[in-house]
Symmetry: C2
Subunit: 296 residues, 2 copies
């Protein structure tokens, strides 16, 4: 592995570049981003040695490893464009948040005679907001970095990339792509959608109420919320601050799994609602207590 | 105010006793608890000067202020028993988590000729678990302490109690009782029920799955959950550890308001589910972002 190209030099892409440099990677790291400011920031940070001149230069890259570090929909676009032009010895990998659609597309385009290899990946790391300016060489230390391998025998370049990722301090783990998306729907996408829905609902409730009551009483709903809402509210709505731009592609490419978890939670909330005065509520708390006890 | 009787010497009741002592209250603090160990612990901590001999001794108390610090259903019981036997100059107050049923019962029993006064209260303070052993004189510092006054003119003893509470470092605030329960349903009871439902659902999902897959693959759902679940999952399910014993009376005495917020969230989740691939999801994130931006 002598040359790495990073496509998308935001928080994750730029952190990959910094981690490579910090771990003594002696080769060249080049990068490109559709946003000129992000590209410039990544270069100034030293996350990349040089910026590629444009989209066409990405397609002409002779990098051993091409890391696709954009949101999922642009990753799918780049895969379509790169597959016909890269060579058999090159490896393409990605850091997208969902894996099923990426793995399915890769199965048709890569890992066949004359085509480059593809290894789908997903580092479970991030920050509340994105951007190259927040990138860190240590972002992946102790984080889980999932791969959803395509089933083919591991190539030498794949081995090099896995070793580099382990060198970042990440805990490497393999998982089936469909399984990845199902588990992520339960533990990441569902919590996000619940926090967004609760925050949006409270915003609606409060805004209408404040307008209605402004003339009538000084103690408006906003004041009441501020007085009464404590840690529980803060925690359950914190993810409401997440930007749509980070979640649109997740919702687009894991729709069925997310919809299934939402439908399951709707039913579960209805069950709690119908049992607020029955012993079934005790059993529900007992199950919840058991889940938490295992997770410390 | 020369004598205070605390009925229920758990976390909140014992902390009230400690706060009174810490602020130089020169009178006597007596206490009683149905649980002998809690009563003993409160006495050893110095939260109360002496333990009342039993339920009958509580009914014979000549305390100027009787603080009901049990869960809500026993508070309602004590109100029924105390109303006929206390005198006009005595004040009863409480620290229950819901206020509408307590205020409604108080309206029929107290604040009339020959009867004691009643001032419903709710300190917004607590810990993950209860018990006198965790009591602290500073538990109420900077916490909001809500009162839902009954409308009658403030008595001298009510003024003394409000001054004592302000002396604990709490921020005293008055609110309508029905309004209190409605706001608490949105910002406290709903988040609890959502965390409980999510935790219970994941426990079911994981347990069934683990049994089913144990023989088939080493990478069971529990391992996957552990690998993938991060801060989002931890935060959204933390309240799943809350004990039923603390929430039963809340669910029993604020059933309609909690059911209304749960039904509203069920609809909101269905709306998100139906719009995972439409621009409406963008609007939902924007509303949620606006809610969070106001709350820092």
């Amino acid at each position: 592995m002598r040359r790495v190209a990073i496509v998308g030099t935001g928080l994750i892409g730029a952190s990959v570049g910094l981690a490579l440099k910090a771990k003594g990677f002696a080769g060249e790291v080049v990068g490109w981003d559709a946003n000129a400011a992000e590209l410039q920031a990544a270069r100034e940070l030293g996350a990349i040695d040089s910026a590629l001149a444009g989209r066409d230069a990405v397609l002409e890259t002779d990098a051993d490893v091409v890391v696709l570090a954009t949101p999922v929909l642009p990753i799918l676009d780049w895969m379509e464009r790169l597959a016909p032009v890269l060579g058999e010895d090159q490896l393409v990998t990605d850091v997208g948040s969902t894996k099923r659609e990426i793995a399915a597309l890769a199965a048709g385009l890569f890992n066949r005679p004359g085509r480059a290899r593809f290894l789908p990946g997903h580092p479970m790391a991030g920050k509340e907001s994105g951007g190259a300016a927040l990138a860190e060489a240590d972002l992946f230390r102790d984080a889980v970095w999932l791969f959803t391998p395509m089933g083919a025998e591991e190539s030498a370049m794949e081995g090099s990339w896995r070793a580099a990722v382990a060198g970042f301090g990440a805990r490497v783990r393999d998982m089936d792509a469909a399984r990845h998306d199902e588990v992520c729907a339960w533990v990441s996408h569902l919590p996000q959608m619940v926090a967004t829905a609760m925050s949006a609902m409270l915003e609606d409730e409060f805004a209408a109420d404040a307008a209605e009551k402004a003339a009538m009483q000084t103690s408006a709903f906003q004041d009441d919320l501020r007085a009464v809402g404590g840690r529980a509210l803060r925690e359950m709505t914190r993810l409401g601050a997440s930007p749509y731009s980070m979640w649109r592609d997740v919702a687009m490419t894991n729709t069925e799994a997310i919809a299934a978890t939402l439908a399951a939670l709707e039913q579960r909330l209805a069950y709690v609602r119908e049992n607020l005065r029955t012993p079934e509520l005790r059993d529900e708390f007992a199950l919840a207590n058991r889940f938490r006890a295992k997770r410390g």
